[in-house]
Symmetry: C2
Subunit: 749 residues, 2 copies
């Protein structure tokens, strides 16, 4: 599907510069930085899901040989609730623990074993409070309330946010419908499952610049949060991003960094902290559970007349539910005249939710796309034909916003003509299609470019590289400067070395940071023109930049970039440029269409994905191999979410499966090769037509897998994961979930 | 002497941001960086002063458990002689060892002890060659020749460079003189004596960016040298400067870095290397020994009619003598019509010379200022009066160049009216004055400034901070941006994070990098004006920047820098600027006048400095405390050079005093408080009037101390150090130097 362009570098597949280091273990991740005299920190965590902290006595722990500092929330500035105040309260509880695993105190000692031994000597008195673990329980009148201050409508409640969106008149729409279908759906709490646990090293410096090394998706926002939490100015703190072993939205806030920095301040030594895998599962912001009710009306010809949704997202112990992502995306793929959405965010005594790839959209898409597929069955209509009838097109406007050029129809057509969709299903197999939408992020990004004397270029950006964005940004610089890719090196710069740049998330990086890089490169070209013009004694408007050269329009001569950098010492000094960009979110919206085939074992109820194809509009695939990787990685995460993954809590709010043995993510041997089709409908708001590609691939799989299983077993699947318990089938081992522990259930697979 | 300015920050004395870390041991120097799996490297060094390498057998060393890589010169690209080729050959000998301690092979192993054990198993066969250790021996016909390729006039010789400078007609000048005096002088090889031995960590990365951490005065030139030596592009290598525990010119080239990087490449692991103190003395470029003959003619009225000099500098085993520094400065303080200089650089079988603060000038100044003081004695003329008669003044032109505004006369007048000069000498004491000149460096510098949302600024430069330049550059940025100093943080950026910047040396940093910072700040101000103007719907020329605010000229409103940064996300994104500067050397020439009192013990010949004052033109003292520190530090180093310091070789070319016990540098208890007077004659070529201050303070002390001793003992001192052996006195223990070993001589003190 790759369209032809005049690009020399963009659209090619150069080897990524971090690949060898990552596969040979030489890349430096969060735990790989050490300083002389480093201490090791550990966190005491709550054994209760909800309790008042009556007192904390650290005196025995303080007396342990090798313990150099202990902190509790009392050692930090008391911030207002919300934002960094909530993060601080989540890192180390202020007055009250709100979930099992909530941090209470931290120790820095000469070794981790000393620190852990000291933790056991910290004596905490609690007054245990009743807790709530589910949306249903949390919204009941009289439910235990997590944050009284978040009362909506004057009533203390765990619903702290409600969003309503209207478009057209749903009552009229449903009145026009021939068929109306309505169903409830549920998705569990899931974890991003990044391989690298969160880790950091902090070194406080009294007069100078304190340093924090962290594996993070956004070192600038992280710096700002840590500084506020520790009562510092942002200019007193430098955050240096390490390589990051996966984030997927989960590494967008400090978990340990502010604690480590305060321990470093108190001890006068660097402090290293890292979470165990168990801590990651128990405390490091998972993806939100959801409940939803969808109602859709259609005419017999397949035209949707009305769509209605009620969405609930779990937020965990602090506000943070991805309700906006759900509301903005749930109906955005369709050209529908009448729609309404009502959404709620609900606090429960579980860890605070963090973003998980396309946050909120997968859960919403699961519901609406599943119901649409049911409607197709009722209408006896092909799932792609049906979507083509209703798909939003260029210039369309719906509840998700108004759109310029859009790739949904192109994706649906590509899906329709794909070998996969034309293939036949085997016995016991089911197939389904689902579409997903992500509006894509914008926001603040900065970039600097420094030219070397030999004509090479260093490109600095502030975007943490989750997925190869360094290389793609390098390619954008190379393309703009007309340099061979080998002559450009892009690096993720620390917070002192480049301007403010937002978090790497929401598919914003190649959009926003790509624009900053392009601007910096264009500024470089302006300078090249000025230098050349000055040498030729002409004005900059008498020269032209073409094919990597500045050409003199007044006579036949030219200077290459390299010629100009070689002469730069004598023409004003080295050539550098800094630039920033701040595009609004939603400028490059993106659609994905997935096709899923499954086979369900009639004896055991086990479902296997037998074939899977992702079709997605990349706008312009800067590095097609990375784009394919994003499509595949997102699809696999979504398949895991659909088939296996869930947080299982006991009735005391204790997570029962905090590890990869019991929290089952799909591995290579579980899956077929994920097929990919890159569609390219350029985004006219980006200099290279790019649309972000990171989020959309995880949005359709929940519905695609569940509908395919529904197709295979002849019944809709409405609760995830698609455990055999959850759907009626003819196998004999079906049991109620409540009758089994998580461990036992896992063992069945 | 501080003149009044309107500056808010420049001229104040804020606390330096690195002070606390440095005094509490938290600052991170070259040896303080570690990575997982780091290996330790060690170098096998030549036991001969001059020998052919017949063969190197590393097989036994390779077989040692824990040895991961071994390199010799054969493992590196063979570079052309000169520049990086010479550095490579100096780091690891190609075919021939040229001095005792010359590197031959290096081992990387799991520990330093394993590496050192393996070194002993490397078998090297040599063919020993005759060697030369002194200028006199090296220039004799038939002397052993170090580099045949460097023949001057077709004759293989150890003189590889000859400079002649003429001004006026010296024969006519001497004919006009009433008195002509001529004398020979000699100064020894000395060491910069930095506290921190050279150290680095190298991590080779095959596809990405290799990293080297190093304690260096210039990480950009270091990067370029290492890249060339290792056969890489500069864009494949990042050099990260650590804090530097002194350099003084000695840390301006790779000693271990390329070796460590190649060992890292071969072993696939990071490699740390550091020199022992003994290695530093034996191998890490000391300051040049010199011999000179000076002839000066004067009239009875004190007017100099002619000056003539013949200068010889030792270069060690490779070209590198600071002849240019000597030639440019020797007569530059004086308005003389007739002068001639002939200078020679001479190779000897000793370590390659590196710069030592004001390179070449101290040696030359010792000779000319000593002779001028002798002439004052003959003329019975006050040393300052005499110099005032001959001092070069604004607009003057002599053999050193042509000058704009100059501070020599102001410095002499300040010296004349100083309490020190008006004080009386005690019995056995002597006093002398000496003037010194340094033209000050220019060259390439880059800077970037990134504004934070809260209106704070991060300032990045590429200049290694030897002496507090970070703070001074921070002050320049704060002054230009009209920000409080607490709102600005300057940092030394690595080679990827800012544009190319030359070595910190030659008193160039606050000149050149200060100009780059100023330009970046002015660019920031332009952007602030554009942002504000755009918000007000006026053009940028309708607004004014004044007192930290952009003011709207069309109506009464203004926006502070902080207002604009707060709004920046919505007005185009974060605000950053990058700029460079490339001022020519010599734009801000600098003079220093020193007054020295000494007391000589008649029994032992021991000399003590009893009072010492430095008077120097700073142009504008950005941070007066740092400027005073430079004056004091340079004076102390010069006093040590004059009184005690010298490399003592045996006849086999083996350094006998490679340690601080036997190489005696002055410590605090040896000296009185060094008094300082800052003169400020602004340099019109610098935005803040700055002249570099780092070099000049070390230039007068050799002559000031030696002449003061000469005054005390009634005989000129013409050889340094001023050991009692070297000058006639009435004490009874005088012996010939050749009759004693270094150890014995040291013990006498």
């Amino acid at each position: 599907m790759n369209q032809k362009h005049d690009f020399k570098t963009i659209g090619t597949r150069p080897l990524r510069q971090d690949a060898r280091d990552k596969v040979t273990g030489q890349a430096r991740f969060g735990d790989d930085v050490t300083l002389p005299n480093t201490l090791y920190g550990a966190v005491l965590r709550s054994p209760h899901a909800h309790a008042e902290i009556v007192s904390i006595d650290t005196s025995k722990a303080q007396a342990v040989a090798g313990v150099k500092a202990i902190v509790t929330a009392q050692d930090f500035p008391r911030l207002r609730p919300g934002g960094p105040g909530d993060i601080a309260n989540d890192n180390l509880a202020v007055d009250r623990v709100l979930y099992h695993g909530h941090g209470i105190a931290a120790v820095a000692a000469v070794s981790l074993s000393v620190a852990e031994a000291a933790l056991k000597l910290i004596s905490v008195r609690y007054k245990v409070l009743p807790h709530v673990l589910t949306i249903d329980d949390a919204i009941k009148p009289g439910a235990p309330c997590l944050h009284e201050r978040l009362a909506l409508d004057g009533q203390p409640a765990n619903v702290y946010e409600r969003i309503e969106e209207q478009f057209g008149d749903v009552d009229r729409g449903f009145a026009q419908a021939d068929i109306i279908m309505e169903r409830e759906y549920a998705t569990p709490t899931v974890h991003q499952g990044y391989i690298e646990p969160t880790a950091c090293l902090a070194s406080f410096q009294a007069d100078g610049l304190s340093s924090v090394w962290s594996t993070t998706q956004g070192h600038f926002p992280l710096r700002d949060s840590i500084a506020l939490m520790c009562g510092m100015q942002t200019s007193e703190l430098k955050v240096i991003p390490t390589e990051i072993g996966g984030g997927f939205g989960g590494k967008t806030a400090p978990y340990l960094e502010a604690i480590a920095l305060m321990l470093s301040k108190l001890s006068g030594r660097p402090v290293k902290m890292r979470m165990s895998r168990e801590e990651v599962f128990r405390c490091a912001g998972p993806g939100a559970a959801s409940r939803s009710r969808i109602k859709i009306g259609v005419r017999r010809n397949g035209r949707i007349t009305a769509m209605q949704a009620q969405l609930f997202y779990e937020s965990g112990a602090f506000p943070g539910a991805p309700l906006g992502g759900g509301v903005r995306s749930i109906f955005s793929a369709y050209d529908v005249e009448n729609a309404s959405i009502e959404g709620f965010s609900v606090l429960v005594n579980k860890p605070r939710i963090r973003a998980y790839r396309g946050p909120g959209a997968s859960q919403a898409c699961f519901a609406v796309e599943s119901l649409l597929n049911e409607i197709c069955t009722v209408l006896a209509m092909d799932q792609i034909e049906f979507r083509l009838i209703n798909a939003i097109r260029d210039g369309g406007r719906n509840i998700g916003g108004s759109f310029r050029e859009l790739g949904l129809v192109a994706c649906l057509e590509a899906a329709q003509s794909s070998p996969h969709y034309k293939s036949k299903l085997g016995p016991g197999q089911g197939r389904a299609v689902a579409a997903g939408f992500w509006r894509n992020g914008g926001g603040l990004s900065s970039a600097s470019i420094h030219l070397h004397r030999n004509g090479f270029a260093s490109v600095l950006t502030g975007s943490a590289d989750l997925s190869g964005t360094r290389m793609s940004l390098e390619m954008i610089a190379a393309e703009t400067l007309q340099l061979p890719i080998e002559h450009v090196h892009a690096e993720v710069a620390d917070t002192e070395s480049v301007g403010f740049t937002g978090v790497s998330g929401g598919s914003r990086t190649i959009n926003a940071t790509g624009q900053a890089v392009t601007r910096a490169a264009l500024n470089i070209i302006d300078q090249l023109k000025e230098r050349a013009a000055s040498g030729w004694n002409v004005t900059p408007d008498q020269v032209t930049w073409r094919e990597g050269e500045v050409r003199n329009n007044t006579r036949d001569e030219s200077l290459s970039l390299k010629d100009i950098t070689r002469l730069a010492p004598g023409t004003g000094g080295p050539i550098s440029a800094s630039a920033s960009a701040s595009p609004p979110a939603g400028e490059g919206p993106c659609f994905a269409v997935h096709i899923c085939d499954v086979e369900v074992d009639k004896e055991t109820g086990r479902s296997s994905v037998t074939r899977y194809t992702t079709i997605q509009d990349a706008g312009m695939a800067v590095h097609p191999a990375y784009v394919e990787g994003q499509y595949q990685g997102g699809a696999v995460q979504g398949i895991g979410w659909a088939l296996n993954e869930e947080f299982v809590y006991d009735d005391q709010g204790v997570l029962q499966n905090p590890g990869f043995l019991d929290y089952r993510m799909p591995v290579t041997s579980d899956l077929p090769m994920i097929e990919t089709i890159i569609v390219e409908v350029p985004n006219s708001m980006h200099p290279f037509g790019v649309r972000g590609v990171g989020e959309a691939p995880i949005i359709p799989p929940l519905a695609a897998v569940a509908s395919a299983i529904g197709h295979a077993i002849g019944k809709p699947v409405t609760r995830l994961p698609c455990s055999p318990d959850e759907y009626p089938s003819d196998h004999s081992r079906r049991r109620k979930r409540s009758g089994m522990t998580a461990k036992k259930r896992q063992q069945r697979y």
